[in-house]
């Protein structure tokens, strides 16, 4: 798995680790039961604090993506990718309801809104 820490992104380092681990789980690069890099080795390799990595791993565990087993490592859970998908669907729902609200204000009909979505999706597939 690739982990790149940016010093200028303004995103806290633990958050960067979390995001990259999540996207590795989503893309299938990290499979269920695979272990994440050892906490202390990762801290050494990335030249960051052990506590920073600990925070990233603990939060990933709290969110249900991995399981920390004392002395054995941090394992990817099988439902990790499902969970991530669920979170993304939730995000899509939120964005869509926001779009619907905006459409109401703009007095756009349901048909027009559908058409707009179709056009945008076509543009994305063209890219």
């Amino acid at each position: 798995m690739k982990l790149i820490i940016s010093n200028i992104s303004g995103i806290p380092i633990y958050e960067q680790i979390k995001q990259q681990v999540k996207s590795a789980i989503m893309s299938g690069e990290l499979h269920a039961d695979e272990t994440l890099p050892s906490l202390r080795t990762l801290a050494k390799d990335l030249k960051i604090s052990v506590l920073t990595v600990t925070r990233a791993y603990t939060e990933l565990e709290e969110e249900g993506f991995v399981k920390n087993i004392q002395g054995r490592g941090c394992f990817v859970l099988s439902r990790g990718s499902e969970l991530l998908k669920e979170q993304l669907v939730c995000k899509i729902e939120n964005s869509l309801s926001e779009a619907i609200n905006a459409a109401r204000v703009a007095e756009l009909s349901g048909e027009e809104l559908h058409r707009l979505l179709d056009i945008l999706m076509e543009e994305k597939t063209d890219e």
Partner: protein, 286 residues
Amino acid sequence: MNNYLEVKNLSKSFDNFRLHDISFTLPKGYIMGLIGPNGSGKTTTIKLILNMLKRTEGEVKILGLDNIADEQAAKKSLGVVFDSNYFSDDWKVSQVEKSVSVFYENWNTQRFSELLDKFHISPAKKVKELSKGMQMKLMIACAFSYDAKLLILDEPTSGLDPVSRDELLHILSEYIEDGEHSVLFSTHITGDLERAADYITYISYGELFFSGGKDEFVDSFRIVKGGREELSDDLGKKAFGIRDFATGFEALIKTEDIKLFAHLNVEPATIDDIVVFTSKRGEQYE
């Protein structure tokens, strides 16, 4: 034992300076940075831990052992690196080993020669022929050869070039990787700590300003920037230090106060920002 170093209510009075009521704890397996402006008491604190100065009050425990009552036993597990080399200049590196190894029952000759190899130090060289970075690595090699559990470094990075500083940080993070070793190091080059340190203890003018997690420390402050007309009295009261100039101002505030100043430009603070702004305030009060 989970705490490798415990300092409780440590105080030392001199004629013209007082280190007052310093307490902090360094758990096993972590790196702690000791920071503060020059003359704030960092070296005094380290000397008190090492019993090189007599404390006025307080308590110091090294791996659970009292640093005075059990000094001999405590120092067996302790490695020390100063900003300048403490070996005799005219000794060869091989003589350094001879002189130091007699004090440690568990001295590992093979380990020492492996470390010399790793650090590219020739045993035939005299101490004075080594560069500053090499001398520092020699002190570290000695500490590692008797498997010191706690390494204390006083300003190890001052006077080192960026390459040697990076090497040192790498050596230290390798050292704590197994979770069985801890490091306390004082520095005023806070960039070194920005990433590698787990804990920060910040001493300002002899008083403890903060001791705790580094991320927590950095997160608890923000820098606000704005035009001069935006510099309100309220901000003046909340700020830990303000630098104002012809076209605007910069101030350090507590993160919990940012709601009050959300209309201004708010940025994360670096350790340097925090030390600089909080120390200015100290001077104003003196």
